[in-house]
């Protein structure tokens, strides 16, 4: 599963570009399954991608189009999916997005995540054998009524607050 250390993220979006390029041959953040949020007022940047949460909020597909692979990755069946948006709505951090009739969500590139290779800063890792899947419960309630980009920003803001604490310590 992807594990993010946003304290190391510089906001270069190389993960995003690599994701879109290697999976679609083109570049656009809309085509990427990992999306960078840059919060200019606090200097925080961070990638948002499916981190395989404990709750599996996306496991609510009314058409049974979502299953989970051997790496824990989300697999969306293109034949069963009706693009209803239930998964996108359910994910509290905006890690699933439907764009142009396709569901964009991290599937670990089937085992060799291109975003991890592209990141020169060590801000994204692919951790196998990881048993401590993150809980996103604390984000779920606040996410209600938010746009996908807002959900991502709210998530990064919370993680960023922790990073900012280390900054103030460094200069105390």
């Amino acid at each position: 599963m992807l594990v993010v250390d946003i304290g190391k993220c510089t906001g270069c979006r190389r993960c995003e570009s690599a994701c879109a390029f290697f999976r679609t041959g083109r570049i656009s953040n809309r085509l990427a399954r990992v999306k960078i949020v840059s919060l200019y007022q606090t200097g925080i940047d961070g990638p948002v991608a499916c981190g395989q949460c404990q709750e599996r909020y996306c496991d609510c597909c009314p058409h049974d189009a979502i299953t989970y692979g051997s790496l824990g990755q989300v697999i969306v069946s293109p034949t069963s999916c009706r693009l209803c948006g239930a998964c996108q709505e359910a994910c509290p951090i905006g890690a699933i997005e439907i764009f142009n009739e396709f569901v964009y969500v991290c599937d670990l590139c089937g085992g060799r995540p291109r975003c991890v290779e592209a990141c020169t800063e060590g801000a994204i890792h692919d951790q196998r054998e990881e048993e401590n899947h993150p809980s996103l419960a604390r984000f779920k309630k606040g996410a209600k009524g938010m746009s996908l980009a807002q959900k991502r920003a709210a998530y990064v803001e919370v993680l960023g607050a922790e990073v900012r604490k280390t900054w103030s310590k460094a200069h105390a």
Binding site: T10, S28, Y40, G43
Partner: protein, 598 residues
């Protein structure tokens, strides 16, 4: 047909009529100029009424990206904003990195051309398929960061990218800038004032048209090579840590760090204000432009203030150049200027000029509304900046920039303005870097180094100098010989870098881009064939076009020179002691190379 690389469309927006029009980008029009700065220049050349008031509705404000912007090419992250400059009255343009360009590219518009003037303050929201004119009286007077946050909130989309002006642009301070990505700045030549004159608070972009190159595998292999060149570059670690602020100690070491307004070139307190000091005390993280693996920008936090930056120009401009020894104060000013939307180079020049004039009793406090400002007087500096941004009291005159402001004073005071063609000189004393001196003198937007960035003269590569530019002296920073040839070469690469919307630090200073590589990138990227020779010819033609355009604006050959100080006075101490610039000789050689009659 333009299928790859380009968005393939241009967007024309008439702010007076609140109308817009989408036009296809003609491939035969764009091919000889590629994109970015060169394409913007051509647009201005063909469409602008040169007699127009730069702050009138007739002026055009052009945002341009290029065929490889937002692609996998590292540091292909720049957009150029072009207009007739209100500060200089000639060609004005300024580029910025960050994230705006990549998002603008996704709208599918290679150029956004703004004309007219809105009846009230508004912002534009541009997507692939729509343009909204949004009235925003509530943002009047708000800072660039406040506006950015407010628009992201209002649109319920924190991923939109915003290029905005601050109070300085609204008040048409002639050297106000446009700010995007929080702290990325189109600083020079007053593009913020042009935007303010159009009553346009912000240009907001959100796109979804993907960037597609013609030959993905070919492009990828070229990109891999470039990434490797960057990562293995001998200065990678230093640049990663310090960014452009590495120049503080580097320039001081060779005695050309502007100190007390170019009266000295060695700053004895450089260690207190250096990039190294910044990195070890206040820097908290690296920041990056779109898709760049160098991550040379920095974020800092000090008591009560935080921001991205500063780059070298701002750091030097608000420390040694104006006699300030406090690094925290310079960092506070970096953030303050970005929020107000003021260009740091022109701001520090008007302040430094006034300091020197008062020091020499050429301007008394009584001449300037009682303002008394001495070297490093932080309270006075902070105050003056506010007065400039809001055009309060004497700030109203200072807001015209040092060159125009000086006209009301003695000839001696006028001579002390460090400018060429009305644009303030950057932080690098030309007496110790002669090719840069020539670049300031001939640059088409006025005193500027980025038009050529002839970094080669600092490399000491004597043999290569002889082979390429006819004399070993081309690699001797104190010599005038061979510098015209060096600048004439470098300016084509600089323009090429700008037209590919690539970063000059990477393209030029790290020597990553050359003509052959550019031709491969363009072939893989756009499918259009360009030989290295043809690229060089094309860029020369654009340089001729800039020259002709400036001729129409009234620029004369005698304007291509340097302030008297650099020609007649030598520096008092340090490794550049005793040197002056024989600017006439270099300019003559340069004009001869271009076959310009002047």
């Amino acid at each position: 047909m333009l299928k790859c690389g380009y968005g393939g469309r241009i967007l024309r927006i008439d702010l007076s009529e609140r109308r817009y029009r989408v036009e296809p980008l003609d491939s035969s029009w764009i091919k000889p100029v590629i994109g970015g700065r060169a394409a913007n220049t051509k647009r201005l050349f063909e469409e602008l009424d040169v007699q127009c008031d730069p702050l009138g509705p007739e002026n055009l404000l052009i945002f341009g990206v290029g065929p490889l912007t937002g692609s996998l090419l590292p540091a292909s992250a720049y957009y150029t904003v072009t207009a007739k400059s209100p500060l200089t009255g000639i060609l004005g343009d300024s580029a910025a990195g960050g994230q705006f360009a990549a998002e603008m590219k996704l709208t599918g518009f290679d150029q956004i051309i703004l004309s007219g003037r809105a009846t009230s303050l508004l912002y534009l929201f541009v997507t692939d398929s729509s343009v909204e004119f949004v009235e925003c009286p509530q943002y009047a007077g708000s800072t660039t960061l406040e506006t950015t946050e407010a628009i992201r909130r209002d649109r319920r989309d924190p991923s939109v990218e915003i290029a905005t002006i601050g109070p300085a642009g609204e008040n048409r301070v002639l050297f106000s800038c446009i700010v995007s990505s929080g702290n990325r700045v189109n600083g020079r030549t007053g593009m913020g004032a042009v935007m303010g004159s159009k009553r346009l608070k912000a240009l907001v972009v959100r796109g979804s048209r993907p960037v597609q190159v013609a030959d993905s595998l070919g492009f990828l292999s070229e990109v891999r090579q470039i990434e490797s060149d960057i990562a293995k570059h001998q200065e990678y670690d230093k640049r990663y840590k310090l960014g452009t602020t590495l120049l503080m100690t580097d320039l001081n070491r060779i005695g050309i760090l502007p100190t007390r307004h170019f009266q000295e070139g060695v700053c004895d307190y450089v260690d207190a204000i250096s990039g190294e000091r910044l990195a070890s005390t206040y820097k908290v993280k690296n920041k990056s432009c779109f898709n760049c693996g160098l991550h040379c920008s920095r974020y800092y936090v000090i008591d009560g203030c935080e921001a991205e930056g500063p780059e070298f120009e701002t750091l030097c401009g608000f420390t040694s150049r104006i006699g300030n020894q406090s690094l925290p104060f310079a960092l506070e000013m970096n953030s303050y200027l970005n929020r107000l939307g003021l260009d740091s180079i022109s701001t520090c020049e008007v302040i430094g000029w006034l300091m020197e004039c008062q020091d020499r009793d050429l301007i008394s406090p009584a001449d300037v509304d009682g303002l008394h400002i001495t070297w490093g007087d932080t309270d006075a500096i902070r105050n003056v900046i506010r007065m400039i941004a809001f055009r309060e009291g004497i700030g109203d005159k200072l807001a015209e920039g040092a060159t125009k402001c000086s006209k009301g004073f003695s000839e001696d005071a006028q001579k002390l303005v460090m400018h060429v063609k009305g644009l303030d000189i950057i932080c690098g004393d030309p007496r110790g870097i002669k090719a840069y001196g020539l670049t300031y003198a001939i640059a088409s937007r006025g005193a500027d180094h980025l038009r050529a960035e002839p970094y080669f003269e600092l490399t000491d590569k004597k043999e290569e100098a002889k082979r390429r530019f006819g004399t070993e002296k081309a690699a001797d920073r104190l010599a005038e010989e061979g510098k015209a040839a060096l600048v004439a070469y470098s300016e084509t690469i600089a323009l090429l870098t700008d037209s590919l919307t690539m970063c000059k630090n990477i393209g030029l200073c790290m020597d990553v881009l050359d003509l052959d590589r550019a031709s491969r990138l363009l072939r893989f990227g756009t499918g259009l064939d360009y030989s290295a020779e043809c690229l060089s010819d094309m860029m020369r033609k654009v340089i001729d076009m800039e020259f002709e355009l400036n001729g129409r604006f009234g620029v004369k050959r005698e304007d291509s020179t340097l302030p008297e100080r650099f020609v007649k006075e030598s520096l008092p101490e340090g490794p550049t002691k005793g040197s002056t610039v024989d600017i006439q000789r270099m300019v003559d050689e340069y004009y001869a190379l271009h076959k310009w009659d002047g």
